[in-house]
């Protein structure tokens, strides 16, 4: 038992994650061609605009499910919506936010773009703390809009006219998944600007704009889009009851900041917070790079409920960063 635990603690989670990401990408982008059906309430961007998708991302089900009148909401259709939401939560709970870090095809795409950036020796950008605090609100704003706009299309808020029907599935119209994921099946049909009326012109232009910003942003910042993703905001609401957990034992933390330095999203709280036990913040995508980079024993742990499955260990840290490999003969070093 100890041997298995040591093996896991010394292992290179990033390489394991890289492989899982490739498999998940193939599943969620091409799975439909192999008649795989995963579900309609997926906590990841399996876009239905892509013909090969094995399921549907929950956001589109949510937007369609909320496109109902108030009276329908308190009737059977509202019940159907809540059942859908419950299915989503059940899908989500087991892997918690590691859906973002391990399985999301858009996330994987951003990681690949990051690899391209490394080849060009370009430096990555980070947000300073003030911008970080301000910009992270955007994903909650998007989530609120996703709830309000479909309801506003079927109902009238405060006597105002109904929102135009062309705003149907508003987030899908601006989501980069809709334009980019079908490209992997050779389908360029989502790259258009719709000139029918001002609403469609604006929405489709926003969609193309967001796609362009997605590429520019994720080239310069690691996991750029994840910071603004409403799916991340929605998942965070249920993150506390997740089965997979990331916990911190503040007593063992020396505040060296290694975890913050390797974090793709740039969460400072992992390093600074020494009192909370559950350290999953709303931007965290549970990629576990922080656990890999922590040189203290049992400071950051990955748990299934309360059982540790992967901990930060001294030995694992030194092995992963190749610090044990470098020890040339001292005479040779002196002569160089």
């Amino acid at each position: 038992m100890k041997k298995i635990r040591d093996y896991i603690n010394n292992s290179n989670v990033s390489r394991f994650r890289f492989i899982i990401q490739i498999l998940a990408f193939l599943l969620f982008v091409y799975g439909g061609y192999f008649f795989i059906h995963v579900g309609q309430q997926l906590p990841t961007f399996a876009c239905p605009y892509n013909a090969g998708s094995p399921g549907t991302c929950y956001l589109i089900a949510m937007q369609h499910g909320l496109h109902i009148t108030w009276s329908e909401l308190i009737s059977y259709r509202g019940l159907a919506f809540f059942i859908g939401l419950l299915t989503f939560v059940l899908f989500f709970i087991i892997f918690n936010k590691s859906w973002c870090g391990f399985m999301c095809p858009l996330g994987t795409l951003q990681d690949w773009i990051t690899q391209v950036r490394k080849l060009t020796l370009t430096k990555f950008s980070r947000y300073d703390q003030l911008s970080f605090k301000r910009l992270k609100i955007i994903k909650y704003v998007l989530l609120v809009l996703i709830v309000i706009i479909p309801l506003g299309m079927s109902n009238s808020f405060f006597g105002l006219p109904h929102i135009s029907h062309d705003m149907s599935a508003p987030f899908c119209q601006i989501c980069p998944g809709r334009t980019i994921l079908p490209l992997f099946s050779g389908d360029t049909s989502q790259l258009f600007i719709d000139f029918r009326n001002p609403v469609t012109i604006v929405m489709s232009s926003l969609g193309i704009l967001v796609t362009a910003l997605f590429f520019v942003g994720s080239f310069l910042k690691k996991r750029f889009f994840c910071f603004f993703c409403p799916m991340s905001a929605l998942q965070f609401l249920f993150s506390r009851v997740g089965v997979l957990r990331l916990t911190k034992n503040g007593e063992n933390c020396t505040k060296c900041g290694n975890c913050y330095n390797v974090c793709d999203v740039g969460i400072l709280d992992i390093a600074e917070d020494i009192t909370s036990k559950n350290i999953v913040k709303d931007d965290c995508m549970m990629c576990f790079k922080c656990v890999e980079a922590c040189p203290e024993e049992n400071c950051l742990d990955v748990r299934l409920l309360s059982q540790k499955i992967f901990s930060s260990t001294e030995k694992g840290f030194f092995k992963r960063f190749g610090h044990k490999d470098e020890l040339p003969n001292s005479r040779k070093a002196k002569d160089e």
Binding site: T188, I193, N197, L209
Partner: protein, 336 residues
Amino acid sequence: MNSLFSRLNIKTIGIHFFSVFIIYFFFIQTLGAQNNIWFSNMPPDDDQQSAPSGMHGLSSVKGKRGTSSVIQWLREGTHPLNSKYIKLSDTDNYEFYLYSPTGKDSVGEFKRGYLKYCSKEEGYYNGYLIQRYVSSDTLYVNIAKAEMLNHSCRNGHKNEGKKIGPDIYPKSIPAEIIRERTLSEDFHYFALSGDVINYQFIVDGMPVENAKLTFNTQTGWQKVLTTDKSGKASFQILQDYFSSWQELNYRIVYDYVIFGDITLAQTGKYIDKNYSYVHYTTSLSDGYRPARTMYMSMFWAFVVFMITIIISVVGIFLYKFNRNKKYKEIHFDEKD
């Protein structure tokens, strides 16, 4: 000149006119008696209750508990816009059938001038109204067919290929036109202008050759084709008029109706009259939308994409250049 006029005897002219008139009168009689009846999705102007709903834009009324009933009106004529709305009383001689996608019959009713049913199953509902009468040794069988697609994404997309049909009911329906499904068709199908649609004329369950199929569009344009050996004929929908932007805005649907005619030698007796020929007239009505290329532009999408990339890259370079040059100071404003 004078000789010409002297030749033209008023009497001859009068006889010519009279004979033409008599023949025309009979023609009109026979034409009138042929009764081009068809089911239309468009409500008469005085109907305020119905509204288009669902993915296929079928006219419907809302019922209790979120159910809705589909309505299709019975009309007579060949022009989709100008045809009369006819009401049949209970004393009129007609047969009405309505089949659900799984073949259940009598799932709806026909009264006054329209058919009505509650759509519960996913797939195509088929409604038929048959009128028969005998005139000058020929039995005229006029069949109005309505093929209505019911689908909601909430119910999933499993096995759409199997449910798509088309289904025929030769036991009760002697003649019908079916629209052939394309290979990749699913429940989200809607004809677009520019599409090629294949129709097949079926009598007593078998395709017939040399039947006449007439395609009528909203502007009055007609195309007549004859079916080949396998009873098929292909029409390509033309964009026969170009609407204003306003019309494109309202998700406009252009209606069309197809009539099929064939006369077959068959003897029999209907009520108390004998006949040696049967003339089948059957109809099918649907709508098409303007082709996406009418209002969607990939070129402009590319322009927006490139502009966004250029602006964001230049913006980022300038920002970094400024930051590298001088330290960004904290600013205070003079507001009280």
